[in-house]
Subunit: 193 residues, 2 copies
Amino acid sequence: MKLPEVVIRLPEWVGPWIERSPKTFPAIEDRMGFVVELSRQNIRRQTGGPFAAAVFDMNGGLIAPGVNTVITSNCSILHAEIMAIALAQQTLERYDISDGGKFSFELIASTEPCAMCFGAIPWSGIRILVCGARSADAEAIGFDEGPKPSGWVAALKNRGIEVKRNVMRDAAALVLKEYAASGGQIYNPGSTT
Amino acid sequence: MKLPEVVIRLPEWVGPWIERSPKTFPAIEDRMGFVVELSRQNIRRQTGGPFAAAVFDMNGGLIAPGVNTVITSNCSILHAEIMAIALAQQTLERYDISDGGKFSFELIASTEPCAMCFGAIPWSGIRILVCGARSADAEAIGFDEGPKPSGWVAALKNRGIEVKRNVMRDAAALVLKEYAASGGQIYNPGSTT
């Protein structure tokens, strides 16, 4: 039996694009601004859906970015948050990036996480989740956030994970609207029955 | 900036081991028996945690197996179900393996899915989920299933995904007990606060 492999890899433009970006991102708006622009570039360069994320350290240093590549990778797992988490763990060489609670890394997400990415956060060692657009903004253009518990923010807080919402929400939601206006594909297999 | 990659890859022993397995698995117990033995081999060969999964077609043909490699890959995303889904999508060359509802693929999981894997199922195009051990069996040896909604089975059914539980539960739970008895690592960063 031939066993396939899947490579979790950023699109080729991301490396040079990051080289031209600031080296650190001191303010939360700097970090969210970077992630929102990453989501915009991902749709303009046609490498995936209108979602981006990134893991930062407590000094505003970028550890790993992620973009949605579901369609271009033929892989429904490859949401932006999943990619950012997996690449951050690879960079830091540990599956719990907090290293048993010693370090506080932050995940910035251009849109609030779907049910899968929400469930992935507690396993990652992420200590702070910062969201731009709301789930309602993604749903407004036809995306499905999945069967996420209505108390998802409290569920993360109960696990010691801080959640900040609505950070540059309008700017983040604008990318979703741009994607819809450009005729971008709203993939949504879960809701077909 | 050096951009890392993560390869979703089965341990090396899996290919030869599958070559020695039956070519099809007609009964549900054949399929679960294969997956439970896969989870046992994963701990005995020390390539990951006590969890396995596989995607089968409606004729009992194996599309893609998955095993937990969180510790050996340094990647908290690489639960067995995530690996099986990603590899099945790679094999079938589409992110919605149902292809818009035309095909009914089944995911067999040695233990009920955690919050992340539960959330991943609706995006995958899986139409039938079959579980062996219960979440309570994983929790009994110290694993954490995460913030999964209490109505998770109904949530999947509402999306047209059939769920069958307790298939060879005792045999599946025995592997969890073997893992705990052998001193296997119970990784659990999410619950540390």
